[in-house]
Symmetry: C2
Subunit: 238 residues, 2 copies
């Protein structure tokens, strides 16, 4: 077996599958055997990340560590988490991990820096925004980050929960006017900083990919780079 990618998923399950799909699409492969080996744990009983950060309800950390251990014990050499809000606990998870981990926030911010974007919009969960998960990273690089006003942010969150509840149509109609206003406000691109958003805006991304930074896609591209990197840098081998 080649180097195994572990996906700590279930936050939500649809976003996990989207990350796997993007890993397949971003791999140069001509037959099954060329694809990147992956193992995905999608056990969605992890407590709600947003509720924990905003309302101090049950923490998802313990379960995330537990399921990360399943991946490590199965032989995963690099762990990725297709959930932006979960990255609030990224450093703590890293302390508990004995293998490589790639941050979705680092991956997305690197794309923004590489593209020399000075002025970016952010769509994300209210927790990701309130915890300044993206803003802090971007401020360090002198990048302006624009977020929707409070009422619109509530609608973004409602859209994400609608998608998770299976109502993709409601999710889409709630989100579309907000991303339109954000684009009209003059930002160069919008960070899709919640892994449900590329699913909700699937058609828009297809028609105008230049408007978006898909954090999931950025994470996956870094993961493909990790897989094909000539020198092993994982902690287990160190």
């Amino acid at each position: 077996m080649n180097r195994l990618v572990g996906i700590l998923g279930g936050m939500g399950p649809g976003a996990t599958v989207d990350a796997m799909q993007k890993l397949i699409k971003n791999t140069p492969a001509y037959r099954d055997q060329d694809h990147i080996p992956m193992i995905a744990v999608s056990i969605p009983d992890i407590p709600d990340r947003t509720q924990c950060i905003l309302d101090h309800s049950a923490s998802p950390l313990e379960k995330m560590i537990q399921y990360m251990k399943i991946l490590e014990n199965a032989g995963a050499e690099c762990i990725i988490i297709p959930c932006n809000t979960a990255h609030y606990w990224f450093n703590e998870l890293k302390l508990h991990s004995r293998v490589d981990m790639i941050s979705i926030i680092d991956a997305a911010c690197q794309v923004i820096r590489d593209k020399k974007i000075a002025n970016v919009g952010l769509l994300a969960t209210t927790a990701t925004i309130k915890a300044q998960i993206y803003q802090r990273h971007l401020a360090e690089s002198g990048i302006d980050c624009h977020i929707p006003p409070a009422a619109e942010q509530s609608a973004v969150m409602e859209s994400i929960y609608a998608y998770k509840s299976g109502d993709a149509e409601k999710a889409h109609s709630l989100l579309t006017p907000i991303k339109d206003r954000l684009l009209r406000s003059g930002v160069e691109k919008i960070i899709l900083g919640c892994t449900e958003l590329p699913l909700i805006l699937q058609q828009e991304i297809k028609h105008a990919p230049e408007n978006y930074i898909d954090a999931t896609e950025a994470l996956i591209k870094k993961t493909v780079e990790w897989y094909f990197a000539p020198i092993r840098g994982n902690k287990a081998a160190a």
Copy 2:
């Protein structure tokens, strides 16, 4: 954690993701936490199933057992394999498993019986067809099974390999005339007896779902039933 579904995947990776997507879509869920817990191993270095059956090349059995053990050790209580051809080894895999397993062939054939179909077409890998994986099951129930003539069957196989190589367009244009002829020949429905086929014929299934028995969908519906069944029937608990 609730009962955990294990997906022995990678045959191919796209089909694995399709099965996971269908598990999500077939689960009544209103939030992340309502979804069925799953773990998927998609390590695609498993030797080609069709080549082994037809040309006696390297057997996939050993690796399939190895990756099935990863699922069992992670706590999977029911294992499914989104690959029809791999079911050539289903009974051997079952001998090595200590948990429940659901056969994609049984699941698809049960749908055909339940729908009282007397006359069915079969699209599958040349190995699945030559090994009579479906035909034997269907003959036991007195169901006529029609397969494409040899030249067309070669094109079906070419289509499947084209899809696996990333050329969805070629896969589609090779397969479409064959499924059209099969439908015109008078079969009531076509079994999509290879997990790449629902991906290749995605649009056709959307427009005329009544023409097809999607084996992956049948497998997933049985898996959802297993998950919600009140009495645990798994071997580990016996």
